[in-house]
Symmetry: C2
Subunit: 76 residues, 2 copies
């Protein structure tokens, strides 16, 4: 089974990487870009019998810092 895990910063958490991207896009002449947030996308292959609880544990233990990040799992 293929998984896509999207890890994004929680609203309100400062995102210097996003700010840098926003600034750089402005410098390149792209106007109207706002509220840029940088997150992570992790794709992986797991055994078909992997349970939702196990996937959740992976995210909580390693892939996302749940103090400042949200995660969303998509199965494909």
């Amino acid at each position: 089974m293929k998984l896509k895990i999207f890890v994004t910063l929680k609203p309100g958490v400062l995102d210097p990487q996003g700010k840098a991207i926003q600034h750089a896009l402005g410098s390149l002449g792209f106007a109207g870009v706002d509220d840029v947030r940088a997150g992570k996308l992790i794709e992986m292959q797991v055994a078909d019998e992997t349970t939702d609880a196990q996937i959740d544990e992976m995210c909580r233990q390693l892939l996302a810092n749940t103090v400042i990040e949200n995660y969303r799992v998509e199965r494909a």
Copy 2:
């Protein structure tokens, strides 16, 4: 208009970050995890009149390194 831009390494490009994640998941006792690839997710707000060509330019000029990375744009 809200955009989500997914930047992923092209197949065949070595992904040390993905390998590190895969190894760490194995160490934590999650078996059967394979082919982990780490990518980026960039969310942003752009003006409604932004054209597809402009978004493409943003990706090519700044957000993705098209030599080694693919990108996909999702409008929301």
